[in-house]
């Protein structure tokens, strides 16, 4: 391990600090964790990576006793431990700091550091002594602030450091950082890294969960990747190049993937002019400025890892988030895109990723769900008559083959694939010129998968513009005319025509060049 950059002199010979063996956990028959092993050494930063649903959160919750594991042993410095709550985990030396700062914002920094263990005399808190100790603890992190001021008067980065200081000061030997950098800017991330280096120098082992690959290579000594609840691999950072890491996370073999290349993409006709274009469009801390052109009959695919800025891009385009730089032009006119309602009037439609929470209204019937967006566009003063509603619902149920073909059934009772089709119908009923689909095939069965893809192709042939987010690279290459690759909240590559292949996309995701303007 002499190659580890951050901690010189760290040796592989050191006895493991924390050892997890055979961690398994099932929720109602679903295996969230399947015999996962993980070894953390003293003084190392160990990245825990994986896509959504890979089992990272479950693993952390099992380690800290928040969730009871079905099987597996946990050893800290050679001794078996079995914490039953986060509190007990802290007492045995495992502290966790979450993305959300879990401190009391209204209390002073000093009170936050020592809440529950303030120095007292005759039952009274020794305020001066507590402040002195607080300054001492924070000085260890190079943080010199007024500890009597309320925590909320400081930036999120400072609050994170206070949270870490509190955790570490309670004699933590293992520190779990669960996506602490998600809400920090580049400068704040550097401050946090400096703190992490100080801690590892003291011999504390850090388990670091993040979505930012650049950060993994900047600070981590070792990487463990989970995929579908299983251990996908574990290696030192130096032994795992980016491309291999991305492949490990997405679980794709290049040879197998190549077979799909470009298969069945519609014959490209003469390219039509863009009706909507975005120039230098972006929002600080959300997505770095990007250019995007949307043409009738043209599918733009957005590819990248979780948290790379795909969904954020679609939300900006749909007006659900507001750009602070750049300009959007539709039909030659500048538009503000201040709200989804405005996007709706421009003829945009949006199928969100979180079908259950952002898309369907489970208690309403299929018919009511289908007419929702059309009614919204017409306004409350011009209600659709019941006959019109019935006609529309019947047409789309037939067209998209929604089963069972009963417009009066509550949509919550339909299968995932049929819910997705009903959602599509909602937007198709508004006859959009642009349809944005975020993970249209997630969580639906294989048969429905193929139907949705066929539908995407058909819509495209009818002259609709499509913007599709998908983690299924094999799918994207079959229908996309243009693929935009995102990494660390920035558009980093644009692939067209013959360039659109699974290996090509993987290479672009894993490219070593640091993304410009990341989290600026």
């Amino acid at each position: 391990m002499s190659e580890t950059a951050a901690i010189p002199g760290l040796s592989i010979d050191t006895a493991p600090l924390l050892e997890l063996t055979g961690f398994s956990k099932s929720f109602a028959g679903f295996r969230a964790l399947d015999r996962v092993d993980l070894t953390l050494h003293a003084g190392e930063v160990h990245a825990l990576l994986g896509e959504n649903g890979a089992g990272k959160s479950t693993l952390i919750k099992c380690m800290t006793g928040v969730v009871h594991r079905d099987a597996g042993t946990l050893r800290l410095a050679g001794a078996d431990i079995a914490p039953r709550s986060a509190e007990e985990a802290v007492k045995s030396g495992i502290a966790t700091v979450y993305q959300e700062v879990n401190l009391a914002p209204n209390l002073s920094v000093a009170q936050n550091l020592f809440l529950g263990r303030q120095p007292t005399r005759f039952g009274l808190v020794r305020e001066g002594e507590m402040r002195r100790r607080a300054r001492e603890v924070l000085a260890g992190f190079d943080l010199h602030i007024d500890v009597a001021a309320p925590l909320e008067s400081y930036s999120v980065a400072v609050q994170h450091i206070v949270a870490i200081a509190r955790a570490v000061d309670q004699s933590a030997r293992v520190l779990i950082l669960d996506e602490p950098t998600a809400s920090l800017d580049a400068h704040e991330v550097e401050i946090l890294f400096a703190v992490m280096r100080k801690l590892t120098a003291r011999g504390i082992g850090i388990l670091f969960v993040t979505h930012f690959l650049d950060q993994v290579y900047a600070i981590c000594n070792r990487i463990t990747v989970l995929r579908n609840g299983r251990l996908a691999g574990s290696a030192t950072t130096a032994q795992l190049p980016r491309l291999d890491l991305v492949r490990m996370m997405l679980g794709r073999e290049l040879a197998e993937a190549t077979a799909h290349t470009g298969a069945g993409r519609a014959e490209a006709g003469p390219e039509q002019p863009a009706f909507a274009s975005f120039e230098d469009y972006g929002k600080a801390g959300y997505v770095a400025p990007f250019d995007l052109a949307l043409r009738p009959g043209h599918v733009v695919g957005l590819a990248g890892l979780l948290g790379s800025g795909r969904t954020e891009t679609t939300r900006l385009v749909f007006g659900a988030a507001h750009a602070d730089t750049g300009a959007a032009t539709v039909d030659g006119r500048k538009v503000a895109l201040a709200s989804p309602a405005e996007a709706l009037h421009l003829g945009f439609g949006y199928c969100p990723e979180e079908r259950k929470t952002e898309g369907i209204v489970a208690e309403l019937t299929v018919r009511e769900n289908i007419v929702l967006a059309l009614q919204a566009r017409r306004g409350a003063l011009k209600p659709l008559s019941r006959r019109e509603q019935d006609e529309i619902a019947a047409r789309f149920i037939r067209l998209l083959d929604i089963r069972p073909p009963d417009p009066e059934r509550p949509i919550g009772l339909l299968s995932g694939g049929n819910q997705q089709k009903a959602l599509l119908a909602r937007w198709l009923a508004t006859e959009p010129r642009l349809l944005i689909l975020d993970e249209p095939t997630r969580g639906i069965d294989v048969g429905a998968h193929a139907e949705i893809i066929a539908l995407i192709r058909r819509l495209c042939a009818e002259g609709m513009a499509l913007l599709v987010v998908s983690s299924e690279l094999e799918e994207i290459v079959t229908y996309a005319d243009e693929v935009i690759v995102l990494r660390d909240r920035a558009h980093v590559a644009r692939l067209t025509g013959e360039e659109i292949t699974v290996p090509g996309i993987l290479k672009a995701i894993a490219a070593d060049a640091p993304a410009s303007g990341q989290a600026a």
Binding site: Q111, S153, Y154
Partner: protein
């Protein structure tokens, strides 16, 4: 790294504003009525509002923790009836009756706190039920006003520290000052106090920081109810009687005093001293009206209402300013 925080002095701003309002109000009264500016009027202010001050200190604890206690007025009413019946009809020695009612009211508060915690009910509903229960129980015991003739009562009424100008620091006033002082120590100088602020700031975080949230909540409502019991004792001393309709609506006066005193109704911020001044302001308005003689006493309610509006508006404005300066500070930090 050096980062400047918001000065903690700004948190004292609402209390400073409340104190300024009281002083200005007192000045206006003194200029209007020649006899007003005397130690005697101030001492009477303390005596007349002692029961409200005691119960408002408990309310301050509850509101800072993010809760509310609507039952305190009824608990005062129940206490006066219980004392009258226990002393006059059952022959219980007054001091023993005091101890009994303090235990009963504390248990009543503990039960409400436990209900809030274990059944995850909103404090508003639980203490509303407590309000009806306590008031109903006092009606059940007696619907008549019962005079208390025990020797201790007349003895305590005469007990007072004599001050120049015929002013007297009475037992009720001393009890209130002691409760205010004790409340300040408990809230600002102990771990329990810090836990109360933390609860009002973020309940989830407080639990994650290892504070026993259940025990703290139960303790807060126990304290509030016990102070309502003490307030009831003081009220019965003041009126020398027990009546089931006494102290109706006092919970709202207490909440008003807490809010006028600068405590945020959503929890997390506030001072016991502010509440004390809030009580004095309400008392000052009453005193003004009794000095004037021609004004209807309902003007006190109207004045209190206007003050409440003014203070809530003031709080929102200062909060908004603080947030904006914080954003600017955060933006300027890098």
């Amino acid at each position: 790294m050096n980062v400047a925080g918001r000065n903690s002095v700004s948190r004292l701003l609402p209390v400073a504003a409340t104190s300024a309002v009281f002083l200005i109000g007192f000045l206006i009264c003194s200029l209007t009525f020649p006899n007003f500016a005397s130690l005697r009027v101030v001492m009477n202010l303390l005596t007349d509002n002692a029961f409200l001050g005691i119960v408002a200190v408990g309310m301050t604890f509850v509101i800072i923790s993010g809760g509310i206690d609507l039952s305190v007025g009824s608990v005062i009413g129940f206490t006066t009836v219980f004392l009258a019946i226990a002393i006059e009809q059952w022959g219980v020695p007054p001091l023993m009756a005091f101890a009994l009612i303090l235990v009963i009211s504390a248990l009543f508060g503990a039960a409400m706190g436990a209900a809030i915690e274990y059944f995850e009910l909103p404090p508003f509903i639980v203490t509303l039920a407590g309000m009806f229960l306590a008031r109903g129980a006092s009606f059940l015991m007696s619907t008549e006003s019962i005079p208390i003739t025990a020797d201790l009562y007349s003895h305590l009424a005469e007990q007072a520290i004599r001050l120049p100008g015929g002013a007297r620091l009475t037992v009720p006033a001393m009890a209130m000052l002691a409760v205010v002082a004790g409340g300040m120590v408990l809230l600002h100088l102990t771990r329990f106090g810090a836990n109360i602020y933390a609860l009002g700031g973020s309940r989830v975080s407080t639990a994650l920081m290892g504070v026993n949230v259940t025990r703290t909540t139960v303790a807060i409502y126990t304290l509030s109810s016990a102070l309502a019991g003490l307030s009831g004792i003081v009220f019965s001393l003041y009126t020398s009687s027990g009546y089931s309709l006494s102290a109706v609506g006092v919970e709202l006066d207490a909440i008003a005093a807490v809010v006028i005193g600068g405590t945020l109704l959503s929890g997390g911020y506030g001072f016991v001293f502010g509440t004390f001044v809030g009580v004095l302001i309400q008392g000052l308005i009453q005193t003004y009206i009794s000095f004037d003689g021609s004004l209807s006493s309902w003007w006190a309610k109207i004045a209190t209402g206007l003050l409440l509006f003014a203070f809530i508006g003031f709080q929102q404005a200062t909060l908004g300013l603080a947030r904006r300066s914080r954003r600017l500070a955060a933006a300027g930090a890098h």
